[in-house]
């Protein structure tokens, strides 16, 4: 159960990092103009119901992720991401059906991204931007229900200060855009629980479907989007003991659409796990649906 939620949350948090127009599920190296803001709201729904064990676990997570990006300079931008979660787990224990749920504000992530390499030409740009961030334990991590303390996977927050970093490459032309990202998140222990560290490799292709031909001015673009996310999580540790039913590797493929104007973007995509190699009885993900908007100001 930890694994499925962790993977889902990684998708949530990394998708949220993409405050700029570009990939739906991860970051980009495109700039936020100096003194300017990009606001993103992203609604994510995750379903995991294909549990082969007698527990027949059925997990649903709805997340609303708010992101604010600020351009400190043309090269350096700061991003703040604050999710709100509604988590629900239905399962069978003995002859009884159990349902546990919790909602609330999650952990705040703040990251800085610096454009280390930039090559601009007419109608195209190539950029590489490393980023570094920290996740603060702003979400509740000791929520209870009638059965007692909720497991870490159902808590809105982790309770731990975690660090994340990586680098993103973007090549954008008038016709298409390619983004690729490598990232790593090191998780720390809180309340006797430490989520396994996670690395992720992402790729995205956005292809301009409309307008077929560019005219004068700045027309809105409709992009067809295809993304891939390879996510690996190490095993969690509870009271110093490794959990054999946690951690693993998942490959997501995400088809989507994105409508881009000067001031705003609307987008939607479905993350489909095409390969899941999880440890033990960790619950697999069925799909993630993501939709949202971004506004430039």
């Amino acid at each position: 159960m930890h694994t499925v939620l962790k993977l889902a949350m990684s998708s949530l948090s990394l998708a949220a990092a993409a405050a700029w127009g570009a990939p739906i599920t991860f970051n980009t190296a495109l700039p936020v103009h100096e003194g300017g803001y990009v606001w993103r709201e992203q609604l994510v729904f995750m379903q995991s119901a294909d549990d082969p064990t007698p527990a027949r676990r059925d997990m649903q997570v709805t997340g609303l992720v708010s992101v604010l990006g600020y351009g400190v300079t043309g090269d350096f931008a700061l991003f703040g991401m604050l999710p709100w979660f509604d988590k629900r787990l239905d399962m069978r224990m003995g002859e009884q059906d159990l349902s546990r749920s919790q909602s609330g504000v999650g952990d705040l992530t703040v990251l800085g991204r610096y454009t280390a390499y930039q090559y601009d030409a007419p109608g195209r740009t190539l950029r590489v931007a490393p980023f570094l961030g920290v996740k603060a334990p702003t979400g509740e991590d000791d929520a209870h229900d009638g059965l007692g303390l909720l497991p870490p996977a159902l808590q809105p927050g982790s309770g731990s200060w975690d660090a994340l970093g990586g680098a993103v490459l973007t090549y954008q032309t008038l016709d298409f855009q390619i983004d690729s990202q490598v990232s790593y998140q090191a998780n720390r222990e809180a309340n006797g629980f430490q989520a396994g560290n996670r690395w992720q490799v992402d790729g995205s292709l956005q292809y301009r479907l409309l307008p077929r031909r560019l005219g004068a001015g700045v027309p809105a673009f409709l992009y067809g989007v295809l993304e891939a996310n390879l996510v690996h999580s190490a095993k969690d540790r509870a009271n110093g003991i490794s959990d054999p039913n946690s951690g693993g590797t998942t490959l997501f493929i995400t088809p989507g659409l994105q409508y881009v104007t000067r001031k705003w973007i609307v987008e939607a995509g479905v993350q489909i796990p095409v390969s899941q190699d999880l440890n033990g009885t960790a619950l697999e993900t069925d799909y993630l649906f993501t939709t949202g908007f971004r506004i430039n100001f």
Binding site: G21, V32, H33, E34, D120, T125, A216, G217, F221, R262
Partner: protein, 108 residues
């Protein structure tokens, strides 16, 4: 010089003065070639930074050729260093900067 020739020359002088005045009064425009500009969302930042410069009256961005035409208010000019700083602050590169000859934008 008879009266008719004098009148003709006065009209000609007046007409030239009016034309010259009209041309001189036309606000200057500049064509900026912005490197790296390849999507509508990017254009917003470039336009915002350029429009914040003193004396800018109007902007026309053409994403296909990555150009921005900056038209100034009467009596105002734009220098290349300011334009370069504004484009850089938007996260892009100024490739070329040229003043548009008066009348060159008419009909566009």
């Amino acid at each position: 010089m008879n009266f008719r020739v004098l009148t003709q020359r006065m009209f000609l002088t007046l007409a030239l003065a009016l034309v010259a005045t009209g041309v001189l009064a036309a606000p200057p425009s500049y064509r900026l070639a912005v490197g790296g500009l390849a999507c509508p969302f990017c254009a917003y930042g470039v336009e915002k930074k350029l429009s914040a410069l003193a004396g800018v009256e109007r902007l026309e961005t053409n994403i296909e050729d990555g150009s921005v035409i900056v038209t100034m208010q009467d009596g105002m000019t734009l220098d290349e260093a300011s334009a370069r700083r504004a484009v850089k602050a938007a996260g892009f590169s100024l490739r070329t900067f040229e003043q548009v000859p008066p009348g060159a934008l008419e009909g566009q």
